[in-house]
């Protein structure tokens, strides 16, 4: 009974993923520092990854976990690139404020 109380269900995993995702989203929308914003997107990423692993585990389908391994690799590469870009942007304007990059304004 207790065991069942403490048993971790799919719901828990999904909830964790969703919280991570939403936290990341809120961070992305509210913060103006490019590096923080970038880290927030990473957080959203991990939220999705957790969801995938949870589905994989509970549905007994290994391809989800395989996928996450891939995802992590790609994320690593991507974060390297993204940080590089952020550095570049910083060098251009000497600022990490995302507001200074608004050329796309119509």
């Amino acid at each position: 009974m207790i065991e069942s109380m403490h048993a971790v269900t799919l719901g828990h995993f999904l909830m964790t993923g969703a919280i991570l995702f939403v936290l990341g989203l809120i961070g992305f929308v509210t913060r103006r520092n490019l590096i923080i914003m970038f880290l927030c997107t990473e957080m959203m990423f991990q939220g999705v990854a957790i969801t995938l692993i949870a589905f994989s585990k509970f549905h007994m389908n290994m391809s989800g976990q395989t996928f996450v391994i891939f995802l992590l690799t790609v994320a690593a590469a991507e974060s390297a690139m993204a940080l590089g870009l952020v550095v570049l942007l910083f060098r251009r304007k000497r600022s990490l404020d995302s507001q200074v990059w608004a050329q796309m304004a119509g």
Binding site: L25, F28, V29, T30, R32, M37, S98, Q99, W101, A102, Q103, M104, A105, G106
Partner: protein, 675 residues
């Protein structure tokens, strides 16, 4: 030798191709004239051979090759030779050869020598196609083809804006008529189911059959003649489409002689004669033809009275004489119409060519007021023109006398026998025109050749090219120094032949023509109308002054011709001052006639200018309104874009928020759909 029949018209076509080659190689330029003359002469000889190989009054069908064949619409290069075609063949190739020989001398040293003969050869090809055509579409080819050659040759001196304008005018006015003609062809096709004219099942046979079976009047058969007529009026320069012909005198004089006097302009008369049964189907068609002919005859003659340009006088005279031919055809005397066509070809070609000689001698001078008494300088030309003038004036026993009389007698007879006042009026109009004709013809001749010798050289406008000609014996530079002189025999030779024709064509040709026409498609339907007379043997019902109509008419018109000549003699040789006095006294009328009744100005004001204004209006509509509407429609998407632009603020957070909102909406939708 009838196997030659399909190829008669192709000899000049070949000559045209060769002359065309000569145009591009200056070294070959001088070969163009012989090529052209030989080409036309070959057509003449081959027509003679073909006619010789045919039975008397026989007909011949020949097909060169197939042309347009779509479903049951068949129009081939097929030819039809009947006695009427024979007359036309003789006129076109005969006069064509003579004029080409004359032109070989006349045009010598001109820059566009080869181009000129290219045009003439092509013209003869088109004209022969026209007279030989067995179907209306091929006839239309010849019809437009002669119009093209006329265009090219009127605009021969392309440096002169007036010549270019005249050429354009000729083509466009002819096109107006041609549209009528084309519509006539369409109606013929829907009515008769074919465009072939001769033979069994051809239009003419069918029309004959309809005539014999009574009067099957229908809207189509009522309209066809009127539409075809419009084409004839355009080509033969009748009211209201005559305006192009006087302007056409901008072309070289041999062209005026061949195309605008002897052959092309008679195509309308030929066409009506050829399609006579179709015209008879409509009770109003031929009277209309006659009326228009009569009106044109006297109208043009009045204009000719007060012109000063020799060639223009002859041009109006041609319009007037064509009017006679239409009276003849309209009065069902196709023989008379064709006969006048035949004689007119001789004397009018002669008159134009002699006028050309005068012009040549005086370096392009054409103004009657600037020349006088040239008889000593140019004796041969003087007397050749005299013969031509006599024939045109209808002096007894010359060519014009017989043919004009035949037409007027026929008209009078139609009027008296058929109790048709209109034709009596037409005959009287014809007689008045005859008086005017005699007067203006001799006014010209007396002014140019008689009286005190004096002249002013013109500014020769067609020998002014730099690269050839001035070392030539007949180049214009030499003439300007030496004054007017007689033409060489290369030019006068053909004129003598034409003069002989003008003297004798009436006496000798009458029987031949009447006989031929009465055995062709142009023979009037015998049972038609109120009279049953056969035109062939000159036997008529009515009498005038107790005499046979023809005899009476000959007497009257002979007297009238003499009277006209006498008046001209008095005013323009005996007492030129009197003429000037009369002119000042009647200055209103004279100004009106000198300005040709202001017809050109009226046409310009009523048709051309409004049309141009309309065109400008259309252009404005196209440019501003239609394009504007399109531009407005094209402006909508950018506007929409601009409306949505403020949403795009370029903030990363904004994009994130939008994305989040999108996810939220999606999630909401999913949840709602699951619940």
């Amino acid at each position: 030798m009838t196997t030659l029949a399909p190829w008669i018209s192709w000899f000049p076509a070949l000559a045209a191709v060769l002359c065309g080659v000569c145009c591009f190689k200056p070294t070959l330029r001088n070969y163009a004239a012989p090529i052209c003359v030989i080409g036309i002469f070959a057509a003449f000889i081959s027509s003679l051979l073909v006619i010789n190989g045919m039975d008397t009054h026989g007909t011949l069908h020949a097909t060169a090759f197939e042309w347009i064949v779509v479903g049951d619409f068949v129009a081939n290069f097929s030819y039809f030779i009947d006695p009427l075609t024979m007359i036309m063949l003789m006129v076109v190739t005969g006069i064509g050869t003579l004029v080409a020989i004359y032109a070989a001398g006349y045009m010598r040293g001109d820059r566009g020598y080869a181009r000129f003969f290219f045009g003439v050869s092509l013209f003869v090809f088109a004209m022969l196609t026209l007279v030989l055509a067995d179907n209306l579409v091929l006839l239309y080819l010849g019809w437009e083809g002669v119009g093209l050659c006329s265009y090219l040759l009127i605009g021969y001196y392309y440096d002169k804006p007036s010549a270019v304008a005249a050429a354009k005018k000729a083509f466009i006015v002819n096109r107006i008529g041609d549209l009528g003609f084309a519509a006539g062809i369409f109606f013929c096709y829907t009515t008769f189911g074919t465009v072939t004219m001769s033979g069994d099942g051809g239009i003419i046979e069918q029309a004959r059959g309809m005539l014999e079976s009574g009067y099957p009047v229908s809207t189509a058969t009522l309209w066809i003649p009127f539409l075809l007529m419009l084409g004839a009026f355009g080509k033969s320069a009748q009211l209201p489409l005559y305006v192009w012909l006087p302007d056409a005198m901008e072309g070289p004089t041999p062209v005026s002689a061949l195309i605008h006097a002897a052959t092309m302009v008679t195509a309308g008369v030929y066409m009506i004669a050829r399609m006579l049964p179709v015209f008879e189907l409509s009770p109003y068609a031929l009277p209309t033809v006659a009326c228009v002919g009569g009106a044109t005859a006297i109208f043009a003659a009045t204009i000719a009275l007060c012109q000063y340009d020799i060639k223009r006088i002859y041009a109006y005279s041609t319009v007037s004489q064509l009017g006679y031919m239409f009276i003849g055809v309209g009065a069902l005397s196709t023989a008379g119409g064709v006969f006048h066509l035949f004689t007119h070809a001789f004397f009018k070609a002669l008159l134009f060519l002699t006028a050309g000689s005068v012009m040549h001698a005086l370096a392009g001078q054409l103004d009657l007021r600037k020349m006088s008494g040239l008889r000593h300088k140019m004796p041969v030309t003087c007397w050749l023109m005299f013969v031509g003038c006599l024939a045109l004036a209808g002096f007894p026993f010359l060519a014009g006398f017989y043919s004009k009389d035949m037409i007027l007698a026929a008209a009078l007879q139609q009027g008296l026998d058929g109790h048709n006042t209109m034709f009596v009026v037409l005959a009287i109009v014809g007689l008045v025109t005859a008086l005017l004709t005699a007067y203006y013809t001799f006014r010209l001749w007396f002014r140019v050749f008689m009286g005190p010798e004096q002249f002013e050289m013109g500014e020769d406008h067609h020998g002014d090219d730099g690269d050839t000609g001035h070392d030539d014996a007949h180049g214009h530079a030499g003439e300007n120094v030496g004054g007017p002189h007689e033409m060489p025999w290369l030019m006068n030779g053909p004129l003598v032949v034409l003069a002989l024709g003008a003297l004798l064509a009436g006496v000798l040709g009458q029987h031949w023509i009447v006989d031929n026409v009465s055995h062709s498609t142009a023979a009037p339907h015998v049972a038609h109308g109120a009279h049953g007379a056969d035109h062939g043997d000159g036997h008529h019902g009515s009498l005038l002054f107790g005499m046979d109509l023809h005899l009476a008419m000959q007497l009257i018109s002979g007297c009238i011709a003499l009277l006209g000549i006498l008046i001209a003699w008095y005013f323009h040789l005996q007492n030129r001052a009197a003429a000037d006095r009369w002119a000042t006294r009647l200055s209103g009328v004279v100004t009106l006639l000198e300005n040709k009744w202001y017809v050109d100005e009226i046409y310009d004001a009523v048709i051309v200018s409004p049309l141009r204004a309309l065109a400008r209006g259309f252009w404005w509509i196209d440019d501003k309104i239609i394009n504007g509407v399109v531009m407005v429609i094209a402006a909508i998407p950018p506007l929409l874009g601009r409306a949505a632009q403020p949403w795009q603020r370029g903030q990363l957070q904004g994009y994130g928020l939008t994305m989040a909102a999108g996810i939220a909406i999606l999630a909401f939708l999913i949840i709602v759909s699951v619940l």
